[in-house]
């Protein structure tokens, strides 16, 4: 089990919301890079995205990087002319920062999707809106069922000579059959719900998570970091000017603690996940020594 999965959904939600919001908030090369590194590390450790999707992300990044200097001809330091369009260093840096921002938001959203799916999502909804949570749970069950039914219907038809209609017309026919299947299924499901008291008033919500002392600590640390970063921002850290010329990285007295806090915040889940792995590996090697160790 992943270390992140042992955490209560509430601090998880708090972290991911803050990470996404911060990533959008700071159009600044250093926070953008930190957020991107944090997101990529965490996703790599927690739920690696398929290799085939990496080119898509790179392409997106490159498009934004190069698109900005081509379409936004601002800035003073002209590097060269591309078809009479002045390409400036300011515009290029802004493009890179925007690309990193976009990428980091995508990565964090994806991590949030993986970390808060299924039961955890229901839990977050369920406390406020038990009925919505139930509907969501039913929908989550319905989608794979309908997909499977659709495949069944299609192969049933192909198995005995097809429908004789074209591709689109056939798909419409399959869809019609799918709808009547779904209606029939939902009648049964409705009866099954009624039999189990689905229409009784005063529905409660089953929350399979306990907010432990550790979760309190985690939430506390997260709150401190979030507030710390916010207050430094209010004091003036974290702003950056691209045009007409690039501003400096910032006032060192204010900027260094800001970068450290921000970097720590963004790398926190990766560090935690990594720490969990090390602890696990060590405890396992002690509890179950390898064959070689036993023999020696």
């Amino acid at each position: 089990m992943k270390k992140t999965d042992t955490c209560h959904p509430l601090p998880l939600l708090l972290f991911f919301l803050a990470a996404v919001l911060y990533s959008v908030l700071y159009t600044h090369p250093v926070p953008a890079a930190l957020s991107l590194i944090g997101g990529a590390c965490f996703l790599g450790l927690y739920h690696p995205i398929p290799l085939g999707e990496i080119p898509f992300y790179l392409l997106l990044f490159l498009t934004v990087c190069l698109g900005n200097p081509i379409f936004v001809p601002r800035g003073r330091t002209v590097l060269f002319f591309l078809f009479k369009i002045p390409i400036t260093i300011e515009s290029l840096v802004a493009g890179v920062v925007n690309g990193m921002l976009l990428l980091s938001v995508l990565l964090w959203c994806r991590a949030m999707f993986y970390a808060l799916q299924g039961d955890r999502l229901l839990y977050l909804l369920g406390k406020r809106a038990p009925k919505t949570a139930l509907i969501l749970s039913m929908t989550l069950r319905f989608i794979p069922m309908l997909t499977r039914r659709f495949r069944e219907i299609r192969s049933a038809q192909r198995g005995c000579g097809g429908t004789g209609a074209g591709k689109i017309r056939s798909a419409a026919l399959y869809f019609g059959a799918l709808v009547s299947c779904a209606l029939e299924d939902s009648v049964t499901a409705g009866t099954s719900m009624e039999c189990r008291g689905g229409d009784l008033p005063g529905r409660s919500f089953y929350a399979p998570y306990v907010f432990t002392r550790r979760d309190k600590w985690i939430t506390g640390i997260l709150m401190l970091l979030i507030l710390g970063i916010l207050s430094l921002t209010v004091l003036g850290a974290g702003s950056f000017r691209f045009y007409p010329t690039l501003s400096g990285i910032g006032d060192a007295r204010l900027a260094s603690p800001f970068y450290i806090l921000y970097g720590f915040f963004m790398l926190l889940p990766s560090l935690w996940e990594l720490w969990g792995r090390i602890v696990y590996a060590r405890s396992v090697s002690r509890a179950f020594p390898s064959e070689k160790e036993v023999l020696s």
């Binding site: 069950r141 005995c160 019609g176 059959a177 009547s180 099954s192 039999c195 008291g197 009784l200 529905r203």
Partner: protein
Amino acid sequence: MTTSCFAVENVTFTYRGSSVPALDHVSFTIEEGAFVLLCGKTGSGKTTLLHMLKKEMTPHGILHGRRLYKGKEISGLDSRLSASQIGYIMQDPDSQLVCDSVSRELAYGLENLGTPSDRIRRIVAETASLLGLSEIFHARTDQLSGGQKQLVALGAVLAMGAQVLLLDEPCSMLDPLAAADFFAVLERLNREAGITVILTDHRLERTLPLCSQVLLLKEGQLRFFGPSAGSPAALVDAGMAAALPAAARIYLKTGGTGPCPLSVGEGRQYLSRLAKLEEKPVPPDPLPRGELVLSIQDAWFRYQKKGPDVVRGLNFSLYAGEIFALIGTNGSGKTTALSLMAGLLRPYSGRIKRVRDTAMLPQNTKTLFLQDTVGEDLRRAAAHLGRGQKAVEDVSQQLGISQLLDKNPRDLSGGQRQKCALCRLLLTDAPVLLLDEPARGLDAPARQELSQLLQCLAGQGKTVLFVTHDVEFAAQTAHRCGLFFDGTVLAAAETFSFFIESTAYTTAARRISRGITPPAVTVEQLAAFLEADREA
């Protein structure tokens, strides 16, 4: 004295819009802790009766008489009490589950009752460990097998505190092993927790030895209510002889005296008292073989790139005019093998030679019908397959479904729908028919009819291959059988020698008679031996 759980007094029920009562002056009392098998032919009113015992399921119509649950009128029961104490489990494992994960499904009923979260946690945990669901506790419900789904459905009502379980053919969609597991759980709940169980099932050979009482309905009237050992005669009177367990059928065929055997063990005892025949091996007559219609050489198939091989080095040949039964458990890859033969899937290695055209009947025949009436579907199919409307008439007449053409395919019974689906298949005029679990969910008369139909089709020159986990149906129908295991066909042989050689995958008649009489696979063969013995 035990208290009565259900008391039904003189209940007559007529569905709205019908003139014939579905239940006709039915009276009985079921004690607490009883295990009752409710049986009767299709349309005898057994499902209606089961619905009468649950307030939420009571159909619309005219009802006379009284229905009492622990002394209280069922229609006036408190909704909370009715929902929690009387659990109802349906036939279809797929659509009666509501939530996406097993844990949520188990908690669903308790949430409805307003139970606090901490208590739900505990009850759900206890239920999961009682039913052995701990392994799949966090699993998604759509990834479970049929047997696991039914266990989850059972757990969901038990968690609510069910004291009575009403089950409507809970295992008709499961393979025999999963069904046996499910019934074992039911028996344990009945024995150890004193839960009253009332169930309907059309496969009496597995439920009759299990239950303590039998309640038999015929045309809405109560024909028998008493201990299961006394039920066979009444069941025969009600025209259900074919559904009886093999042991009881042998007992009845030999005009037995004393208590009627129901299980295989009892059957063996009965037979060894009756017969002292020697087991002589009988060489089977080799069947004449037609031309090769389909052959598979070393086929391998997997669904996902990195997934496991589902079909592994399959070698198989099918000959014209034969009926071949492919036997194996659920999830062994039988359906995949069938889809390969039908050309719906392609192996990544190996060769499949389809000398003749094939048509495949899917497991869920509902998926075959796209229109609102059966006739419309068949006519459209005939039109695009280049066959005239005459073909629809001919084929539907041959299968005896002419009167069903105006009906919606969803309103048909299992047996009727199976025949309509076969009709759709025959319209393709393909000489090779591949059938996926054609006997699943059918009652004894419908299975009998299907078996005769397939034999008739083979007589007309069709080649039939069907996949099944029903050994009795295979023994009755097929010329050749093969065991599907580990992605390949093992031990393909003539039906008789296949079942004689098998140790686990064999018919009840064989299990009863092994070592006692000369080899016999069906009850009819066994009865013939005994008859010859008595004459000699």
